[in-house]
């Protein structure tokens, strides 16, 4: 190859490479950014930590504090306008304070004015799985109760103490409809008795979340028969949810609030004449 021809070829190659490099550079537009994996979805659970009387598998967030006030008007609705359908009172009332040291554990201290029952309870959510269409969760509840106003008995009497355990099974469908099953054991269900006894019960409830604020709740607690507490417990109500508050309005045949008094049954039959009004208010901080 002659020197001249070689020089021509080198020039041509150089020009071609320059053009290619420039074109490639001009085509290097757009970002190289790519989205990272999204955060995993949480398993949907019931909105509230409790139904109307029974627990759900839901727990407070770590570090959160919950406060609750529960009222049951003792006169039935059937007492009519003279008793303002029960609002004239008297009432059974419960105050409760809850603290969550972790996302899965809650510790509660509550007091009911019926026999001045003090209740110390722990709830642990031990399992949850599923997603939007179906979710299942399990919690375990254990509690100790001390009744300090039992007629004819000193505060420190051993028969004033009760203890209980519950297994909470929750299923949630399409994050709209939930059902709960709560088998429970209670020791010393009738604390006024002179001896200890055991009681078994099976709690059932259904929740329907109509929208962001309103929900409907039905609850039934099947308890083994005993003469002092011959009837099961039934409650029907609705809730208003505001993100930090729950307001629950209900009708029920039972006037017991603390678990050790509620689980073993009711003195009132499940008829329209024996239904009472009640409300639950809870607030989370």
């Amino acid at each position: 190859m002659t020197k001249r021809l070689r020089a021509q070829r080198v020039s041509g190659l150089t020009i071609g490479m320059l053009l290619a490099a420039s074109t490639l550079a001009a085509q290097e537009e757009g970002s190289t950014w790519q989205r990272k994996a999204p955060s995993p979805d949480e398993v949907p659970l019931f909105h509230s930590e409790s139904s109307l009387h029974l627990p759900t598998a839901q727990t407070l967030g770590e570090g959160e504090i919950g406060f609750e006030i529960l009222h049951r008007f003792l006169p039935p609705i059937s007492s009519g306008s003279n008793g303002l359908w029960g609002f004239d009172g008297p009432v059974n009332i419960r105050f409760g304070l809850t603290y969550a040291p972790t996302d899965r554990l809650m510790l509660s201290l509550g007091r009911s004015n019926r026999l001045d029952n003090y209740d110390l309870q722990a709830k642990a959510r031990v399992y949850e799985a599923g997603g939007h269409d179906f979710a299942f969760s399990v919690a375990l509840v254990g509690g100790l109760a001390w009744n300090t106003e039992v007629p004819g008995r000193d505060d420190g009497d051993a028969l004033n103490w009760q203890y209980y355990g519950e297994v909470v099974l929750n299923a949630l469908f399409s994050e709209r409809f939930g059902i709960g099953v709560v088998p429970a054991y209670l020791n010393n269900p009738v604390v006024e008795d002179l001896g200890r006894d055991d009681a078994l019960s099976l709690g059932l409830y259904a929740h329907y979340y109509a929208n962001a604020v309103l929900g409907l709740i039905a609850e039934y607690n099947i308890s083994d028969f005993r003469a002092e507490l011959p009837y099961d417990s039934f409650a029907l109500g609705f809730h208003l949810e505001t993100g930090g508050h729950f307001f629950k309005i209900l009708v029920t045949n039972t006037t017991s609030l603390n678990p050790s008094q509620y689980l073993a049954g009711s003195t009132n039959e499940i008829t329209s004449d024996e239904l009472r009004l009640g409300f639950n208010v809870t607030r989370v901080f």
Binding site: A21, D41, A212, G244
Partner: protein, 204 residues
């Protein structure tokens, strides 16, 4: 006069092409990505008649593309691009119940997991302290609804890392976020959104 030989003219032509083409090829975009390992904060503030609360997350991501002039006086605004997004499922208000309420009932994060803002720079202005005031224009999207929005931000720092802070308002109604009238006493109709994050250069 000395004649320019044919060979000499070819050499001059190649040099001319180098002078024209190479700078064009080497004038590349500057790209920055959000530094997700930094202390980024996205905060929304709800100011309602009976309750005030804040929601926070650090899950912001995205990028900025600038022309060869960067953010300075020679910034090529037309070739700039940005895209930022926030993972709404990570927002926390301090109450788990309220977080879930917000995610499921108002933001519906299962269907609309991200809030995003994308567009380009419409202006830059250098400050005496070395920071830049950036005017952004683009499309803000949340709850599946897009709205045109202009935002002014401040960028501080220096190559290769900048801290960017922005503040703007979002109307819940404009993004079809349906809040019951009772809840407007507890949730503000207009949310104050504050963004404070870091970007680092990934290529030039």
């Amino acid at each position: 006069m000395r004649r320019i030989t044919r060979q000499r003219s070819r050499q001059l032509f190649v040099l001319f092409l180098c002078a024209v083409l190479l700078p064009t090829g080497l004038a590349r975009a500057q790209e920055y990505h959000v530094d997700t390992s930094a202390e980024n904060h996205v905060t929304f503030i709800s100011d309602a008649p009976i309750e005030d609360f804040e929601g926070v997350t650090n899950a912001i991501d995205g990028y900025v593309l600038l022309g060869p002039g960067g953010m300075g006086p020679n910034a090529d605004l037309e070739s700039s691009q940005f895209y930022f997004e926030v993972d709404l499922a990570t927002m926390h208000t301090g109450i788990k119940r309220r977080d879930r309420h917000m995610r499921e009932n108002y933001l519906q994060t299962a269907e609309f997991p991200y809030a995003s803002y994308e567009g380009k720079l419409s202006g830059t202005e250098a400050d005496d302290d070395g920071s830049f005031h950036l005017d952004l224009e683009g499309t803000f999207s949340v709850h599946g609804v897009e709205r045109e929005k202009e935002v002014r931000c401040v960028a501080r720092g220096g190559e290769p890392r900048y801290r960017i802070r922005c503040r703007f308002e979002v109307s819940l109604v404009e993004h079809d976020i349906d809040v019951p009238s009772l809840m407007f006493l507890k949730i503000g109709e207009v949310i104050d959104l504050r963004v404070d994050f870091y970007v680092k250069r990934v290529r030039q």
